[in-house]
Symmetry: C2
Subunit: 224 residues, 2 copies
């Protein structure tokens, strides 16, 4: 296939995805459900962060989680063990979630949720190109990955609303400078909100939870 044809096919796919994502977002806004798309490399701590956020927010807030994985239902099982609903999407090889996969689950998702978290496939590249109808995109960067990653994988950082630097309890054992990581990310995206968290010590989870509650209030004020 010629490079020109490849680009046209990709534009088609993304155009169709964007349309479905817009419909999903409108539906969620009507219900007042704040929806978050979590992106990161494999093993950056997305599921563990969700477990900690659920401990803070549930049962005061009603939570649902969509788990995207290549294979296994391990992550959905971990989330259900926390007492909230989780729906597993196993892509069977595909490297990212698409809006239609989220749309296909809609009949199963209760209309009275406060938060819908979508944990994307662990991949810092491909998921950044696919709008899932979310209101906020969170990119996680775990400290063991290194502080040079934002400019090496820019799209996840330029398209995110917030950066969550995870596993900060490990920083004493690593050549990781959180200031450098934050500065690189802000050079790519000056509007980026930045949080630093440890799911082991609990540091930073309260601040991130408060930010999400504030964003839920904003959504409901705008779409009241």
């Amino acid at each position: 296939m010629s490079p020109k044809k490849e680009v046209l096919v990709l534009k088609d796919l993304l155009g169709s995805n964007k349309k479905i994502a817009g419909e999903i977002r409108a539906h969620l806004e009507e219900k007042g459900i704040l929806t978050l798309n979590l992106l990161s490399s494999p093993g950056a701590g997305k599921t563990t962060l969700l477990e900690k956020l659920i401990e803070h927010l549930h049962p005061t807030y009603r939570i649902g989680v969509i788990e995207g994985d290549i294979e296994t239902t391990r992550d959905a099982e971990r989330i259900r063990a926390k007492g909230v609903s989780a729906w597993q999407i196993t892509t069977g090889g595909a490297c990212h979630l698409e809006a239609k996969m989220v749309g296909n689950l809609f009949s199963q998702i209760p209309a009275d949720l406060d938060f819908l978290f979508i944990e994307n496939v662990g991949n810092l590249v491909c998921p950044a190109s696919y709008d899932l109808g979310e209101h906020l995109r969170l990119v996680l960067l775990s400290s063991p990955e290194g502080d040079d990653k934002p400019k090496k994988y820019p799209k996840a950082f330029t398209t995110a609303d917030a950066l969550v630097i995870t596993k900060i309890d490990l920083i004493p054992h690593l050549p990781f400078d959180p200031q450098r990581a934050a500065q690189e990310a802000r050079e790519l995206n000056p509007e980026l909100k930045i949080f630093t968290v440890s799911s082991v010590t609990g540091e930073g989870i309260q601040e991130l939870s408060s930010f999400l509650i504030e964003k839920l209030k904003e959504l409901r004020t705008i779409h009241a």
Copy 2:
């Protein structure tokens, strides 16, 4: 685009890639250059492992490195600082290297190399589908990523010849069981060779270097 058409396009692309990869492999065998394709998540330690292998192997062995990244030439600069030749491929967004990208560099690569290392884009998913003409595929799993990753991202492990568990110096601070990671990987791929290394302490680098030297000898015996 219909799902059926998507599959046909992908098969076309992979078929063409496979053909080019075969030509590259034949060319490298004729020159006696053992070629390795390194796959992993972002930040699993591919470049640092290469720096350590170069310290062991260079200048006794002649080494070249192809660096694949979405953006920046940082990794090639790190490799050149070790005194060996490095060629940077910046994909400008693409999530994996393809054989034709490697083929395009051939006029620049000296014919008297012993080892050609290809560091793929940091992505545990997409690069697994693309043969680059390598003789050995190494998948890296860093201990902070978690011991549950092989079955969640199976293709990288089923297509690899060796698994290198990296950052083992961090294990005392992590919920990571190297035996579980190794067992999962071997259930997917019983032939997999497994190494455990720390680029901080140097543990395991000698064993991995010896394995590569052995494989170089085998290549030259077979294609003498």
